[in-house]
């Protein structure tokens, strides 16, 4: 880049152009990578499973069901009773027939709470259940 010649009074001015270039690059990077909608429950601590296959391109029909430590069911951050959850699942099954179900259950959840969700799924004819786990933790 060509340096501008400045008079001796402006001699100490720094050339801003490269810095602004870098800063804009950074901002564009952050804008692109930011995820605004945070629909997951932050309290849920998933179990570790480093050998499971990675979650790649998600099927848009995927239903993510979260079960927290105490067994509360929530979808997209909204807590639901089991009856309400079942109603939602039945409605969804009417529309899509089959759709993938991903269960994000806390590692300390009792199996009976996971079972309740799985039973509702099998009631509406969904046999394949996916469990989410952490493949690699960010430090």
């Amino acid at each position: 880049m060509g340096r501008q010649k400045r008079s001796s009074t402006a001699g100490c001015a720094v050339d801003m152009t490269p810095m602004i270039d870098v800063v804009f690059q950074l901002i564009i990077f952050f804008i692109v990578t930011i995820k605004m909608e945070q629909s997951i429950n932050e309290d849920i601590r998933l179990a570790k499973a480093e050998y499971g296959p990675m979650i790649e391109e998600e099927d848009p029909r995927t239903m993510v069901v979260e079960i927290d430590q105490r067994g509360w069911i929530s979808i997209h951050g909204a807590q639901l009773s089991r009856a309400k959850f079942q109603k939602i699942m039945i409605g969804r099954a009417k529309r899509y027939r089959q759709f993938p179900v991903l269960i994000r259950a806390d590692r300390r959840t009792d199996h009976k709470d996971v079972r309740a969700v799985m039973d509702i799924c099998s009631k509406i004819g969904i046999w394949r259940i996916n469990f989410a786990a952490i493949k690699q933790e960010v430090t």
Binding site: A10, V23, I34, K48, K112, C121, F131, I134, V138
Partner: protein, 134 residues
């Protein structure tokens, strides 16, 4: 902010200061809100129907039952630690990967135990997994 007096040759230059201020604010905002996410994996199981009049499953030769209870794991009726279970399953999978694995969970077992068993199955390459509850 004080306006600097410029010579007429510099008159066409833009005042950069406000823009840089804003850009830095944005940069700091994004830096602060950035949160790295864990890489997630998914473990697939099938959930057989709890249908009482379904015909009793013929006793398949290739059927392996793992029981998960609150305090540990059982394989073929014997208590196993997670390391022993991993060793046994690795050996079994080296003979045949088409073994159907039935995982039976007691209702008070933690979900973490189920995930760790599924993790081992994924590691050794067992694909036919079913989860039963009891």
């Amino acid at each position: 902010m004080r306006k600097r007096k410029r010579r007429p040759a510099d008159a066409a230059e833009l005042e950069m200061t406000p823009m840089i201020d804003v850009v830095f604010q944005l940069l700091i905002f994004f830096l602060v809100t950035l949160k790295q996410e864990d890489i997630l994996s998914h473990l697939d199981v099938s959930r057989p129907a709890p249908d009482p009049n379904a015909k009793q499953e013929e006793t398949f030769k290739d059927l392996l039952t793992i029981t998960i209870h609150r305090y540990g794991y059982m394989l073929k009726g014997k208590n196993r630690s997670i390391e022993q279970l991993e060793r046994d399953l690795t050996r079994l999978a080296s003979f045949s990967k088409s073994v159907s694995v039935i995982i039976r969970c007691t209702s008070d077992s933690q979900h973490e135990r189920l995930v760790s068993v599924l993790n081992i199955c994924a590691k050794v390459g067992l694909k036919k997994l079913s989860v039963f509850s009891m």
